[in-house]
Amino acid sequence: MARVKLDNLNHSYVSNPTSDDYVLKNINIEWNDGGAYALLGPSGCGKTTILNLISGLINPTSGSILFDGKDVTNLSPLERNIGQVFQFPVIYDTMTVYENLAFPLKNRGFETAYIDKKVKEIAEILELSPSLSNRASGLTADGKQKISLGRGLVRSDVNVLMFDEPLTVIDPLLKWQLRSKLKELHHEFKNTMIYVTHDQTEALTFADQVVVMYDGVIVQVGTPTELFETPKHTFVGHFIGSPGMNILPCDVNSQNVTCFNHPIKTSSDLKNIKSNSKLQIGVRPEFIKFSPSGLPVIVNNVSDIGRYKVVDCLIENQRIKVIVNEGDDIPSGKAYLEFNSNFTKIYEDSWMVS
């Protein structure tokens, strides 16, 4: 196991790149030994590139990668000793399940007795024991993905285990089971695990710490709670949560914040506003409630999600979503909204003002 540190990492897929060509820009991050981390972001934001840089499948344009303080930037994937599970299951078709699991150990020249012990141990944990002697190509998608995972787990000294959207091709029910299995494995083996996904549920349930990426940049690193309560960037607010955060235009003068000419209390310190450019208010639907006075809106639509209702309100063509618990009264027509000031933030150029 190892601490993984990415130091000033930049990457571009073209040689002699100009600033527009970078798919990863100035990535600095440190992952602790034994942690479970998720890399979350929309498709094309550079998640997989980071993963492939850590595993050594590609080399960074600049910057370095350190495992336990040791620079591994120029080492091959084999020397880095990592495990990686890909989006689509990779198995060796002609081998049995047993041979598939034994393959990485065999290549590293371990003794047969040790390989046998290790393979059986891992197969037991992954519930693959009954099919050990079957041809791997005959397994279902989740079985194949377990083999991919198993090939990383059989090496007890693997530095970091990485997952690149591993549940994409798995059925919903099995998806849930396999995800629980992953959590269980993490508790058991204490491996450093990095999990790439564009699905917020997967990321938030798997990881202790989630790294949110957007367009080649890390926008926020934090626990699921932090990402929910204090999104550092409007993208995080929008991407995490269902429905996402409300982003409203606002005006700020020396002391007051107004939104549609109505004063709003926020927890941002107005002194921290630097340039006054593109100021917005962000507040999650969970932190808004109907009250006798406040921001005047028209109730437009109510959708029942089950445990709660999402109320769609309008103020001068601006939509505001409000989450109301089941059973609570929802006014119709004209209504007033009150924002919870602790969770109402000002965003300057999309970045949160603290």
């Binding site: 492939n52 595993s55 499948l57 091959s76 994937p77 084999l78 990592i82 495990g83 990686q84 890909f86 989006q87 689509f88 990779v90 060796y92 078709d93 002609t94 081998m95 393959f103 990485p104 290549n107 590293r108 041809r135 005959g138 991919s148 090939r151 990383g152």
Partner: protein, 289 residues
């Protein structure tokens, strides 16, 4: 719910194709069957012979010699062309302008008409004026004359076929290779697989289907080959390169023994069919488990 619409009018659309196939395949084949069981002296007069012609063919040493030569030739060709084709496909570039260059280079031999290939190699290999023949004789100092020495004739026939048809194997294998997702190589890299293991456990299994097609095509084509060796050696010197197809034409058109030739054709056809069927089933048997 699942009722499919049945409309027998659909058969009408198949009818023209059926007529076409009947004219170019079924009727000629039936004519051959007709000749194989009868004797004719012209004037559309036929006498029933039963299985006499088949017995004659099956008991003739000449047939077995030609058949043996045919199997030997096909065997040597497969042993050379399949590994060579795989090897070339593996070394071909996967991206960049080199790809089109290599593909065009590989396609050129396939585009040349068979009799032209025969004529080209005939001149190319002539010991006195052909570049190949001259080089072997005068630069390597090996006595080589494909018009007089059986071994030289065989060598030239095989070299010609390898030159003409290895490209087909290359192109099929290449198609198989480029369809392998990168993740396979990446996983193998992470698992610490040596280059031989990558070939043995990833590339070869992924090429299995195209290789099956390549081997089948090369087996059938080389087993029925006629034009190229006929133009090159004419079956000689002596009978040394008289393969089954060349012998068949000699019997049918040279000696005008239509009955035995027809019987021979049918046996020939059944051999090709049988070998292909056995081979295909062997290759596909594992797929189903």
């Amino acid at each position: 719910m699942n009722k499919k619409t049945l409309d027998n009018k659909a058969w009408l659309f198949v009818l023209p194709m059926f007529v076409l196939v009947a004219f170019n395949a079924v009727i000629p084949l039936m004519t051959v069957v007709n000749y194989s069981v009868q004797e004719t002296f012209g004037n559309n007069l036929f006498f029933w012979q039963g299985v006499d012609w088949f017995e004659k063919v099956v008991n003739s040493e000449r047939f077995y010699n030609a058949l043996g030569r045919q199997f030997l030739y096909t065997g040597i060709i497969l042993i050379i062309e399949i590994p060579l084709g795989i090897a070339i496909a593996l070394t071909m570039p996967k991206k960049g302008i080199g790809v089109s260059f290599c593909l065009i280079l590989m396609s050129i031999p396939l585009l040349i008409p068979w009799n032209v290939v025969g004529a080209m190699w005939n001149i190319f290999a002539l010991p006195d004026i052909g570049l190949l023949g001259y080089a072997i004789n005068n630069w390597l100092n090996i006595d080589y004359n494909f018009t007089q020495q059986p071994f030289s004739a065989w060598f030239t026939c095989i070299l010609m076929d390898v030159w003409h048809w290895t490209s087909l194997v290359v192109l099929l294998c290449y198609a198989g290779l480029i369809s392998i997702p990168d993740a396979y190589y990446q996983a193998a890299n992470i698992d610490g697989a040596k280059p031989w293991s990558v070939f043995r456990f990833i590339q070869l299994p992924k090429m299995k289907k195209v290789l099956t097609i390549a081997i089948l095509l090369r087996f059938m084509d080389s087993f029925m080959i006629y034009t190229e060796p006929f133009v090159l050696t004419g079956g000689g010197p002596g009978n040394s390169t008289t393969f089954l197809s060349i012998d068949l034409v000699k019997v049918a058109l040279g000696e005008f023994d239509l009955g035995p030739a027809a019987a021979m054709s049918i046996i020939y056809f059944l051999i090709v069919l049988l070998v292909s069927w056995i081979f295909y089933n062997l290759m596909m048997r594992n797929e189903e488990n």
